[in-house]
């Protein structure tokens, strides 16, 4: 193998400068956003690692532990809400596939409303825990627990805000290239947080019923 990997190429005949070459904007944007999401997954990983370290009984420092704060039943209800919202966003994507602007608007609105339902259940649950004195300042365990729950909740809030912005953009600008790649990125974001929720549900909420 020599430095000239194309040794057989006839230099005089092959073109030196390309023409008509452009880059696929949409693919470039979605790749970058996916890379960002992998970074975000790394943040979730770090938080899960922190939770793995601080999840022991003695990290609760005599305060409420996992059995008291993680309610699998409620969490399963939240799962249903969240997955339904994800499905609704999927329908928005199918409407986009056909260039159906009205369908996109309709289904994003649906996804947004269902996500609000998730937030309501989630928020209610967290507030109830706070009222019974299970607050993040109580112990290392609760700090790690609530940080994970609230970090996922933050994703849902950001997703909802983003959907609002996209509703305005789809309505005002139509399905332009910029709007389309943002819808695709939002799709990645929204489906990504659902994947994260799978781990939240399993290792946060179900664990409470095991130990």
């Amino acid at each position: 193998m020599s430095a000239t990997t194309s040794g057989t190429l006839d230099a005089k005949k092959s073109p030196m400068w390309s023409s008509g070459h452009g880059h696929d904007v949409i693919s470039t944007k979605t790749l970058g956003f996916w890379l960002y999401l992998l970074g975000d997954a790394m943040m979730f990983t770090a938080l899960f690692a922190a939770y793995a370290v601080l999840g022991h009984a003695f990290n609760a420092a005599g305060g409420p532990w996992i059995r008291t704060v993680a309610h699998a039943g409620v969490a399963f209800r939240e799962t249903a809400w969240l997955f339904a919202s994800v499905l609704a966003y999927g329908f928005a994507m199918m409407a986009l596939k056909k260039g159906n602007r009205g369908g996109v608007l309709l289904w994003i609105t649906a996804a947004l409303l269902i996500a609000l339902g998730f937030l309501a259940v989630d928020g209610h649950e967290v507030m109830a825990l706070f009222r019974m004195g299970a607050v993040p300042e109580r112990s290392g365990f609760l700090s790690a627990f609530f940080t994970l729950v609230l970090y996922h909740g933050l994703h849902v809030v950001v997703g909802i805000a983003w959907m609002l912005v996209m509703l305005v953009q789809v309505a005002s600008a139509g399905l332009t290239e910029k709007v389309v790649y943002r819808l695709l990125n939002l799709r990645l974001f929204w489906h990504f947080q659902a994947v994260m929720w799978v781990f939240m549900f399993t290792f946060l909420y179900l664990r409470g019923a095991i130990v």
Binding site: G22, H23, D24, V25, I26, S27, T30, L31, W34, L35, L38, A41, M42, T45, A46, F48, A49, A52, V53, H56, F58, A72, F76, T79, A80, F83, A84, V86, L87, G90, F91, M93, M94, L96, K97, K98, G99, L175, T176, E177, V179, V180, Y181, L184, L188, H191, F192, A194, V195, V198, F199, F201, T202, F203, L206, R207, A209, I210, V211
Partner: protein, 129 residues
Amino acid sequence: MTHGTDNAWEHPEVQLAGGGYVAAFVVGLALMGLSFWMVRGHMFAPAGLAIAISAVAAVAALVQCVLLLHMNVSRTQVWQTVALVLFIPLFVLTIGLTSWMFHGLYRRTMMMPAAHAGAPATQAQAGGA
């Protein structure tokens, strides 16, 4: 745009959307329900249960990655998939190695009531090593 049309929504990545979403919803919810049911009914001993729900979570995540996030090796998706595959070992390493080292650390440094009560340092050390 290089895909040859004026309509942005005709981009191949948009065209990936399909009926998989419904399947993802049904399978995802069913798998989470399965975990929930196993835990509720205490189907196995805690250790077995932990392994079982972890496995179900892995399957559910895989299903979502394939059906929702379209992780495959088609021309538009291949780099997304490659990036994910490169990252998965890092997730495992981070959590796995951290748990391992702290498991040892806790065992060796925490003064649990049972672990050391009244034991002189010399006797406890063989166990702690």
